[in-house]
């Protein structure tokens, strides 16, 4: 049995489909490509695929990951990727593929994620004052937000989930465009959604705002105490 880890992109064309639907997209593309995917035993056989952290609806990404178990040990990761790419719909594209040595489940090891969030605001601001305010925001001991969970709305402290937060200001007519780059906790233990962070920050700044787009640029897995690119972790 061989596992191939794949890094893929999710563009505008497919940003409104759900995570579950995306899995179906891969399943059917694999069938069309006649790739030797392993199937589970039993009444309803499932293809051996595990995906990384689900993206929110409307979010694009250049750093999605999936592990695919194949039955042909001879097949190269490149061939797998090439054949799959021919069968994937517009907007989904395999960027890299590598055979994976460890049995680690990608889902379980995800630790952090980097996003670019582009926000528009009619509020007047400049680089300096904004920097001061954001620093002040980050210097709080606790940042409590209302997080929606399965059991209703819960107060959650997200301060420790924000690893890094940078921004770039681009004035644009009456509007200010702020391009945030945020490195935040991700995964099953602690997961901070970028829109929630922006909501909290803009609330603190007293900014009226509108999110123009969210794009995931990186995803990290934890190995001992290090954050690693999932493609590096596999070797």
């Amino acid at each position: 049995m061989t596992i191939i880890r794949v890094k893929f992109r999710r563009g505008d064309e497919v940003k409104f489909i759900s995570h579950l639907d995306l899995m179906k997209v891969f399943e059917r593309a694999i069938r069309r490509a006649r790739l030797p995917i392993a199937y589970s035993q039993g009444f309803n056989p499932h293809p051996g695929m595990v995906f990384g952290l689900p993206l929110g609806v409307g979010v694009t990404s250049e750093a999605e990951y999936g592990d695919f178990e194949i039955t042909d040990d001879e097949m190269s990761a490149q061939e797998f990727a090439d054949r799959l790419n021919l069968q994937l719909p517009k907007g989904v594209e395999v960027l890299a593929a590598k055979k994976k040595a460890s049995k680690q489940n990608i889902m379980a090891t995800i630790a952090a994620s980097e996003y670019i969030v582009i926000v528009g605001t009619p509020v007047e601001c400049n680089q300096k004052t904004l920097k001061v305010s954001i620093d002040k925001y980050l210097s709080q001991k606790e940042i409590v937000v209302k997080k929606r969970t399965k059991n209703g709305v819960k107060d959650t402290d997200i301060r420790d989930m924000i690893f890094d937060l940078n921004f770039e200001l681009q004035p644009c007519g009456d509007f200010n465009i702020i391009r945030f780059t945020a490195l935040v906790s991700a995964g099953s233990k602690a997961n901070l959604k970028p829109d929630l962070l922006i909501e909290s920050l803009c609330g603190y700044l007293g900014f009226e705002y509108e999110i123009d787009r969210i794009h995931r640029t990186k995803l990290f897995v934890r190995s001992q105490d290090q954050l690693l690119d999932p493609m590096e972790e596999v070797v």
């Binding site: 064309e13 409104f16 489909i17 639907d21 069938r31 409307g58 719909p89 907007g91």
Partner: protein, 614 residues
């Protein structure tokens, strides 16, 4: 110009991927490279529309023409509609996102009467005048086809022209005529004059209707002598040679039938007297099992679907069923494709088959005896006896099945309370059949579900003259059944019958009912077949305001002599035959199926299928 769908807008609606397109195998063309743009509209949600096989066939058929770009359009769900109206976004084609009011054709497929208000709503959202008399030379042609087009009259004011019968035959001829007409500078009327010569085309505006004092139709006449007096449906003669796409669109979101649908034949040989499909699709024409396996392979390859289902009116009547199913099971097993088999007649062969087909869970077998007594089953010509049913369920119970669904109709012509009680009796006989099966052979817990729907008399059936049962009667029958079925092993489900009243009106409606549709839509009716949107009281008000009596259409018995709103449509089956079937029904006499004995219905004029040369 494409419409602007902002992320914020899409994010705010349920299932945005209904509105964004780009699915695998969808066809993208450069609009500038074609002469004809066709909006194929399904007047229901994406999920329902995408499950429809006819749409898939015609979509690819039109797109296989270099001069034509066909796009899909579905009824936006109410949340999306609201956003579109707020933001002045007109109804657009899913492929190009261009407004469909700029297309040459806006075509609707008519699958059920209760989607009619969605047609009006979609035209309104598109910004196309709702009635044909308001459309000018710059407006799209609004056309329609599909099973409900066989009684086109309730939509006569709205649709510019109908295509009668199977679209694969006729649509190319219309497109050719359009390509010739376009750019000649001749007007809208002249195009319709051109195509009315094509067999199967019905242009309602070309006909005058007058009425008798009692509201029945006095005359129906072409306005010019060269318009056809009778419009004859078109059919495909050789199903193996008929167009079939090698690709089908694979949607992103879950749809109702998310699988390859293999249509093994058209029509039905059984002749159940309530079943419109059984008459309008005559004669039965089969595809060969070889062609079907070829199609299945191509579609599996191009779609990656993991399931194939056989679809036809009574699939187990297919003459090459054995070759087809064993062939498919052989080919698909290693590809891990499931075969799902809907409604097979139960015998040892089909049980064995179901055993092999992977997806069939041991709980789900369905039977449709339709009526509770043999007498009434003879009236409707449902060739199933109690013995057949009990044999079949016993066999199934012995094979480990433990769930049976039984479908019935209430309100069939001549039905008595005794017939209704017969439904409960039949359910208990099924329970008894289970009791006689040795314990080690049968499943743990028996579950019999009895479902009843209300009978709706339809055009082109032997019951087209029959009154629909009143709602009071239907309620009483439902209550009776409910009181008779008191067992943990039997569940009784029944449908609310207010919708069936409306179905009955529009299934046999004339041109006067068109006003009601427009009025009901104006008053907020749409998505009527979706319980949460169905507004019965509003409908009743619409009837009142238009001065149209729904009971005139639903619960009135017609004379054989009456001129019916659909009498100018020729489906091949003669009125004489329908009358003789109607009389035989009342005499409780059955008619054998076409393969046993040709009943002489008239469909031989097509010289095809079960009654034709081959």
């Amino acid at each position: 110009m494409s419409v602007k769908l902002s992320d914020a807008l899409l994010k705010s609606v349920e299932k945005p991927s209904r509105y964004t397109g780009n699915e695998w195998n969808s066809v993208i063309k450069d609009p500038k490279s074609v002469d004809i743009r066709f909006a194929f509209c399904f007047p229901d949600s994406y999920e329902v529309g995408m499950s429809h096989l006819g749409m898939k066939i015609l979509y690819h058929l039109l797109n296989d023409r270099d001069d034509c770009y066909c796009e899909r359009v579905f009824a936006p769900w109410t949340d999306m509609e609201e956003k579109m109206r707020q933001n002045n976004i007109p109804l657009y084609g899913l492929e190009s996102k261009n407004p469909i009011r700029d297309f040459d054709f806006v075509g609707f497929t008519l699958q059920y009467e209760m989607s009619f208000t969605n047609i009006i709503n979609m035209l309104d959202l598109a910004g196309i005048p709702l009635t044909s008399d308001k459309r000018s030379d710059s407006d799209s042609f609004v056309c329609a086809g599909g099973p409900c087009a066989y009684n086109p009259e309730p939509l006569a004011d709205i649709i510019d022209f109908f295509m009668m019968g199977e679209g694969e035959e006729i649509i190319n001829e219309v497109m050719d005529a359009y390509a010739k007409w376009k750019g000649t500078g001749r007007n809208r009327q002249e195009f319709l004059e051109d195509i009315v010569k094509i067999e199967g085309i019905y242009v309602p505006a070309f006909y005058d209707v007058s009425y008798n004092e009692d509201g029945t139709i006095r005359s129906f006449e072409p306005k010019k002598p060269d318009y056809p007096v009778k419009i004859k449906k078109r059919i495909i003669k050789d199903m193996d040679k008929a167009y079939f796409p090698e690709k089908i669109i694979v949607p992103y979101t879950d749809i109702v039938h998310d699988r390859i649908m293999l249509e093994v034949f058209r029509g039905c040989t059984r002749g159940c007297r309530f079943c419109q499909a059984g008459f309008i699709y005559r004669p039965v024409r089969e595809k060969s099992h070889k062609r079907l396996i070829e199609i299945a392979n191509k579609l599996e390859e191009s779609s990656g679907y993991e399931e194939i289902s056989l679809t036809s009116l009574s699939t187990s009547d297919y003459t090459e069923l054995h070759e087809l199913t064993t062939g498919l099971l052989d080919e698909m097993e290693e590809k891990k494709v499931n075969l799902s088999l809907p409604s097979l007649r139960i015998d040892s062969f089909s049980l064995d088959l179901m055993e092999k087909a992977q997806k069939v869970r041991k709980s789900g077998l369905t039977f449709a005896p339709e009526a509770g007594s043999q007498r009434l089953r003879d009236v409707i010509n449902k060739g199933v006896t109690e013995e057949d049913l009990l044999n079949a369920v016993s066999m199934a119970f012995n094979g480990g099945w433990n769930g049976v669904k039984l479908y019935f109709m209430l309100g069939l012509p001549t039905e008595t309370m005794e017939d209704v009680e017969g439904i409960a009796d039949l359910a208990y006989k099924v329970v008894n059949a289970y009791k006689t099966v040795p314990r080690e052979k049968k499943g743990k817990f028996l579950n019999v579900t009895v479902s009843t729907s209300s009978f709706v008399p339809k055009a082109f059936t032997p019951f087209q003259w029959e009154p629909q049962d009143t709602r009071e009667n239907l309620n009483e029958k439902q209550m009776l059944l409910k009181s008779k079925i008191r067992s943990k092993q039997v569940t009784y489900n029944y449908h609310e019958n207010r919708l069936s009243l409306l179905e009955a009106v529009f299934a046999r409606g004339d041109r006067k009912t068109c006003k009601v549709l427009l009025k009901a839509w104006e008053m907020g009716c749409k998505f009527d077949s979706w319980g949460e949107h169905f507004k019965f009281d509003v409908w009743m008000k619409a009837f009142e305001e238009c001065g149209v009596d729904p009971y005139f259409y639903a619960t009135r018995r017609r004379d054989y002599e009456e001129l019916l709103p659909w009498d100018h449509i020729d489906i091949g089956v003669s009125k004489k035959y329908l009358i003789s079937e109607s009389k035989k029904a009342l005499e409780e006499k059955i008619t054998p199926n076409c393969r046993v004995n040709c009943g002489g219905c008239g469909a031989t004029i097509f010289d095809s299928g079960v009654c034709g040369g081959n």
